[in-house]
């Protein structure tokens, strides 16, 4: 019975959390601009609406376009099942750090292929931008996770994220540094401010949006949902890092841990909304600089982890 309940909550989280995260960001942005804004559930309505709509497919596309969004969606679903982004997962499989990072890259590859297949000028240049960005941000994500791996002596995220030890100051510092690195690199991975402006209507400045310009109907719904789910996974990992920096977190039971986890995800969404209203999009040339900061955070975390290991 409890197992069934766990499965149900997990499934519900996979369906609801992504849209709520997106809705929270949009609502926060609207409120900060003195607008009432759409209801937090609006992304659900949008997805339902899109999935009912017809689809326009250019005659120059081959099957890659349709297939790519499907594969990317499947890939993200596997990741949602694999990574410990929620602490109340019914069954935690073995999830290797490297596999997780490169499954994300795999999903991106499909999206890139899809946008190249569309054959539009925007699709091609946004694909090139996305490829450049992912190339730059990959070491940052990897190093952030690896720093945790070094510290806890395992390359299995399941082991890392369920570690129960008496925490020291070093533990907290590493958790926070890694969490920050994961959170900021997620802004790059998810094409959000200050790297890309998701609300812009200007094709020439877009990265993610320009890749999916040609998608419509059900196809677009799939892409949008996959993107939102990817966002929840990243925020889930980051929020858990922050939560585990507090020694008290390990003493809570699984329900309050799960609740805090969800609050953490939505809190990060709130923060992103705040960030996106108050900061300015970086010039394309300055983006590598921003990623360099994230990378140095990851480096600090790894060095601290190695240092802590040596001392022990």
């Amino acid at each position: 019975m409890t197992a069934l309940l766990h499965w149900l909550t997990f499934l519900l989280s996979i369906i609801l959390l992504p849209v709520l995260t997106l809705g929270t960001i949009r609502k926060t942005k609207a409120r900060l601009q003195n607008r009432i804004g759409p209801p937090i559930c609006q992304p659900i309505y949008d997805l339902v609406k899109l999935s009912r709509k017809g689809e326009t497919i250019s005659s120059t596309m081959c099957g890659v376009f349709r297939l790519s969004s499907l594969l990317a969606f499947a890939d993200i679903l596997v990741l949602a099942w694999l990574t410990p982004w929620l602490c109340f997962k019914p069954w935690a499989p073995h999830s290797n750090i490297f596999m997780v990072v490169y499954l994300f890259a795999f999903a991106r590859m499909f999206t890139l292929l899809g946008s190249l297949d569309s054959g539009s000028a925007f699709g091609a240049f946004s694909a090139s931008r996305e490829a450049t960005l992912s190339l730059l941000v990959e070491p940052a994500v990897l190093l952030a996770l690896v720093s945790l791996g070094i510290f806890f002596g395992s390359s299995d995220l399941r082991v890392i994220f369920s570690h129960q030890t008496n925490q020291t100051f070093t533990d907290s510092a590493i958790w926070i540094a890694a969490g920050l690195a994961i959170f900021f690199s997620s802004l790059v991975e998810l094409s959000r401010m200050p790297v890309d402006d998701p609300t812009t209507h200007l094709e020439l400045t877009m990265i993610h949006e320009a890749m999916i310009l040609e998608a419509s109907g059900r196809n677009l719904a799939l892409i949008e949902f996959a993107h939102a789910l990817k966002m929840s996974i990243f925020f889930g990992l980051a929020s858990q890092c922050f939560l585990r920096a507090f020694p008290q977190f390990n003493t809570f039971n699984v329900y309050s841990q799960g609740g805090l986890n969800i609050v953490g995800i939505l809190g990060l969404a709130l923060f992103v909304g705040l960030l996106e209203s108050l900061i300015v999009k970086l010039q394309w040339r300055k983006v590598p600089e921003f990623i360099a900061y994230i990378l140095s955070l990851s480096l600090i975390a790894s060095l601290a982890a190695i240092g802590a290991g040596v001392i022990k």
């Binding site: 609300t199 200007l202 010039q283 300055k286």
Partner: protein, 492 residues
Amino acid sequence: MNIDIIPIEAELRQDALLSWLNQPGKRLGLITSNDGGQIVTLLLDTADSAATIWESQMSDCKYSSLTPRITQAHWMERTMWDMFGLEPTHHPRLKHNLLHEPYEEKFYPLRKENDVVARSGHRQYHSLKVKGDGIYEIPVGPIHAGIIEPGHFHFSCVGEIIFNLEIRLGYVHRGIEKKLSEMNWQKQRFLVEAAASDSAAAYALAHAVALESCIDLVVPEKAQHLRSLALEIERVAMHIGDLAGLAADVGFLAISSSLGRLRGASLGLADLVSGNRFLKGFICPGGVIQDPDGNLSKLKAKAKNLQKELEPVVRYFLTNQVVLDRMENIGKVSERLAKDFGLVGVAGRASNQMYDVRHHFSAGVYPLLKPAIVLEKEGDVFCRAKVRANELVDSLAFIDMLLETMPCGSHSTNMPDALRANAVGLGIVEAHRGELIHLVFTDEQGNCKRYAIKDPSVNNWTGLAIAARNNLVSDFPLCNKSFSLSYSGHDL
């Protein structure tokens, strides 16, 4: 304004124009024709507030192009080719401007006698081909995302860097100049205002000044004040709107929505003056349509309030470090190129062009009363934003001053039923984008036989093409917004 019409041989025009432009303060206003039988060149002398028209009779429809030596003529010569079939020889990039492929080969809408042979280069449009390794072509438009007007941009890029930008316009060509020359002057003002609706007050003012100068009519002082008031309110509203657009393009949403709200407040000022938020139907030949005396004290309080609210928002926007990073050294137009291409308005003044129509030509209360000229040197996006911000402050102070010195008396005077026969009327106004020229010629009966309009965008579209070069593709929208040009004003 008294306008001299000087006949000049077509072959001598080029040298004469070159020596004219080499004198300080002398400008080229407009090159056009009346009915295809002549070329009319409007010259402006900003130092003496004088205008001269050179008229060169044409025996055939080919003439030697001015463009190789006088670059700013290139666009006007293309339009003239479209409208009158007057073909400039040796024009480096002669292609049609307004009339696209679907029009008939031998269609010259403003030409009286259709005696020319079909155009030698037919209507096919070819963008400039850029060849080389890694050249990537991005076509954008004419239909854009968002609700802006149609225009086609053809980028030739090397990676993320724009190598060349070609702008193709004419998608909203409605034949306004031809229509204006066929209707009563009494009705013209409605069409003129609708021609480029975001400059309704400026268009109406230029139209009124042009007709009044045809018959040497002096409008009452109160009308002059109210006209300038309307024009400055339009400038304030549009400058705020443009700054909001710049903020949105750098992704600064909080500032963008604050400025959007303040733009609404400035449209409220327009409502108080004219009863219309977009100042339509207010300025008419002879004066203004109504006297908003009862609203002026309220207007004054609201303008003061707007000034107070605007100041911190604009300051916060233009002192933000990342905003500076995005805007400085982006989309540069050097002072020399700005002069060569005759840039006007905000774009011109951001590139150190000392030209503000309000200082040089009479319309409304100008140039007796006027705000200071705002100049910047660098010619980048940030300078254009700063010129707008500073002009906003000046315009709001000027509105206050106009209200302070508002004279008593009548708000309009009667216009005669017919205009003077064989007369020329010139209205030249600083619209929020820059120099706007309306040029009217009347026939023997005193009817308007030719109505020529030069929107500030005609000069400045080329400025945008120059500014975009060697910049990142992703910075183009910012460059574009910093010029904030009109498609309908250009296409007419």
